[in-house]
Symmetry: D2
Subunit: 307 residues, 4 copies
């Protein structure tokens, strides 16, 4: 198993040269483009290979976690009043569809929807809201989870486009907190630091439909979350990822990806299986090049597509 | 089993009053809004209930069939040069994204993509191209399959918006036939007549990944087709259908739906299972109201979601 | 002359019932929909009729004044680096065209352009920037000019859409001040209070190409300003106003309009003539119904169109 | 006078190297990029300089002529039911704003509006409709006027984008003829051949408000036509042309421009003055580089702006 993983990782690592590390904030630009690591885990065992000790930020991967936790607090019906779950061909930071009054964000995987979701996390202050996510992660991962303050500061200093989105949301009644509160919450969430094993554990929680020995979340919420991952989790390649890979997955510009295998087997691992990947060289839409390559090969070899 | 089906159908039939029969062409407007019928089939057995003898036209359901057959002929790589597989939040007949030169249609489930696909079917004339689909259906269904000429004529007489789409496609190099050829092919395909049992057999072919005793199509094409159904098969409710039902499905404005169950069981039926539904009272986005209601209840009861 | 004005005003006043007072902020909603007053002035004489003592806020009328003063300070070349002078069919508060990075606002008559212009007024604080406009008006009108604080507060409390615009401008590099600074400046400018005679004097300054005994501004700037009034001064009816009236004019949602007659005669008045109008009942695009009616009749009677 | 013209033309000719001849059809690509000719005419005299014998096609210059003649036939009220007169920031061949049902074209200077106008010309066949324009031109110019068949054929062979526009117009009820009829009419109109002196005579007809010894057209129609030239006559630089030149003008991709001087004087010429220009090297928005340069210099020197 470890050997297989090693082989697949090293093959996929060769594709990192086709990607580039995100540079819109300095903190991301410092990542090593040649890094690539993967962790596969089922309930019993875990296999990891690559630069597995590297810490990186969740970035957009957190969007599906915060949606799940906000839905756990408010219920799906109330969530749907604030954010739709429809895919859109627009770019992740688009404002266009928000313009006409009373248009809710199309889904929680684009920035607009994620900012709305951030504003709906329980608690009054950004610290409270972020604590909801940190506590969930610490309980799940059984370790201390922290925010990378340098990344957060970088993000915060170049957040004007997101502030514009937040003001439109507020003007249209789709923000449950002040603009600064929502923006600080959202950007702190993006800056949460994890390892690739942590990603795999998070993915496993989705694969298990939210039924973990330490935390339980309503399976209906998990199904919506995984549908969002499949239909809009991989930026503007979500459709192609669904068609040619076929797993619920969520990526971030840090090069992080979580992918969810509900049933099936990978050698000695038996579904539900969680997969965490980290390869900071990303393609033009924002997905880890090596990560997508690895998943495509893995799914083909073990017939893991949901279709 | 038959009793269960009867009960579920009659419960869902009550929701038909929330929908309206499509009226944009006279031929569709004649349908009976109170009709609702369902057929479930696995490899061995078939259960149907409702107005199961009624013939109706495939409308947009044919889009996924013609995509599959065109891909079978050209291969997925060449198909991807002509049409993307990304969902879009735009309406099914939108032109907007085609405007800038060299933009291929976002996916084959919107009219633009479906017209491109129609133009790519093997054969020179519309008759030849349509024959590809008719022959596939006749082989699969072991019956004669015909085009409803009255519906086709109606569609043809109000096809100017689709002709506009086709001319943009042609101008941008995404049409493999003349405009009239492509339009006639596309509209004849939409006017193919079937029963609800036929729909179930078609759905089963997708559920079996294209491995039927009489016809075989590459499983990779079937996976792409099913991904398209899940991400964009139910018009502008595709995201919500994925989230709250979670099956690959394709609807048409005639009130037809096919839904695909890869694995799982419905009483004595064992996956792969094909589901055909016909309820001409459609909601504001174009999906059969009773059909969606039925599938939601069925999936919940038997835990059939892919997620 | 006075009799003629009286007659024309009373005829146009009848059209006020076709309009409605703006209600998006309480301060505007308090205006009397039946009010309508006009002032015509050339270098020597002035004729006014109607509720000529009523004070009202400039609203969007100020946009052409602040553009002129910012251009006086920076020069037209630098202004053009920050804001284009092209008309757009979009609504006044649209964000759409700003979205792609590095797109400057289409013109200074839409909110986006006006906020950019507000940020470019000389001075550091909103108070300094607003003082530039107040000083210009006080010098021109030879009276004290103030801001209606109640209106300003109302506007400020519902400025989230404008804040969104300002953050996009800032993100794209088209703001020369902080967002709050620009918004406060812009909204204070909109809340400057005048009478209909003041409007006529302001219009005369444009008619005289900026050559007044107390203030002189480069004629090239005045020409650009008047071109902006003609191509985009009357919201989304600017084209129809140019076609059927044919005078440079700028309207505001308070019901204020300034219109500029460069040459020609109205009875004993000789061009350059400035026209001020105030009729708070506005049409669906935001222009005073009676004001537009009056100008159409006047221009026809005295053949005043620039075309 | 002739010397002055010579000097201004030669100065402006130097700017032709900043432009490029249109290449989207072969017939236009054959033009000599170094050509530049101008003709100025008032009621009594005419001065021309440059390659004044060269024949070229009207292209979009015809749009304002066919609008005027269709309005002469139908009246302005009926015209306004079919086409608005509002400028738009979209490109000349945009479809976007037509998409929603019942949206009429924004103005007759963009292709959509011009195709609607072409369909409204009196007569049943394209030949009849085109004859309306040819007869007008022959009466005005006192010479035979013909269509460049080679250019027409070129245009016709690459008209798919325009056909798409026409089909949308037809679907929305804004076409008064069949699609092929309207397209053939429109493209033949674009292919009418003239010289630069002809352009000057046409411009003079607009300057005289349609009151010519041989033809009379209602002045109200002329005013609307000139407003359209000023607000949308120079493609996506119309606003800048209004701001920095300030004359009603209409350009075509052949490098033709007509410009209208209602009052004022150019040496011994007295307004009304018509100006024809031909310089096939066009800028990125479609206007003759030398033509715009010449008009800017002329207007500045003789203070001819309407503002």
């Amino acid at each position: 198993m470890q050997q297989l993983l090693e082989q697949l990782v090293e093959t996929s690592r060769k594709t990192t040269i086709q990607g580039k590390v995100a540079t819109y904030i300095p903190a991301l630009a410092e990542a090593d483009a040649a890094h690539f690591s993967v962790c596969l885990t089922d309930k019993g065992q875990s296999y990891a290979y690559g630069e597995t000790d590297t810490l990186f930020t969740l970035q957009s991967v957190v969007k599906v976690i915060s949606f799940m936790l906000a839905a756990d607090y408010h219920g799906l019906t109330r969530m749907m009043d604030y954010v739709d779950v429809e895919p859109t061909g627009d770019s992740f930071n688009s404002i266009v569809r928000l313009e006409s009054a009373n248009t809710k964000p199309f889904n929680p995987m684009i920035n607009a929807g994620a900012i709305t979701v951030a504003s709906m996390l329980p608690g009054d202050t950004p610290t409270d809201k972020v604590a909801t996510v940190l506590t969930f992660l610490e309980t799940l991962l059984q370790k201390e989870v922290t925010i990378n303050q340098k990344t957060y500061q970088s993000e915060y200093d170049s957040a004007d486009h997101n502030r514009a989105i937040a003001y439109i949301l507020k003007a249209n009644g789709y923000l449950e907190a002040g603009v600064e509160n929502a923006i600080q919450t959202y950007l702190q969430l993006c800056s949460i630091e994890v390892t690739v094993s942590d990603l795999a554990q998070i993915a496993l929680f989705f694969a298990e439909d939210g039924q973990n020995e330490r935390i339980c979340i309503d399976g209906a919420i998990l199904k919506v979350s995984k549908a969002l991952m499949l239909t809009c989790g991989m930026y503007n390649s979500s459709g192609k990822f669904a068609a040619f890979v076929g797993l619920p997955a969520k990526s971030g510009v840090s090069g992080a990806i979580i992918a969810v295998v509900k049933s099936g087997a990978i050698e000695i691992l038996e579904g539900p299986i969680g997969i965490g990947l980290y390869g900071p060289a990303i393609d033009e839409v924002g997905n880890s090049v090596a990560g997508v390559h690895f998943l495509m090969a893995l799914v083909k070899k073990y017939n893991l597509s949901v279709f």
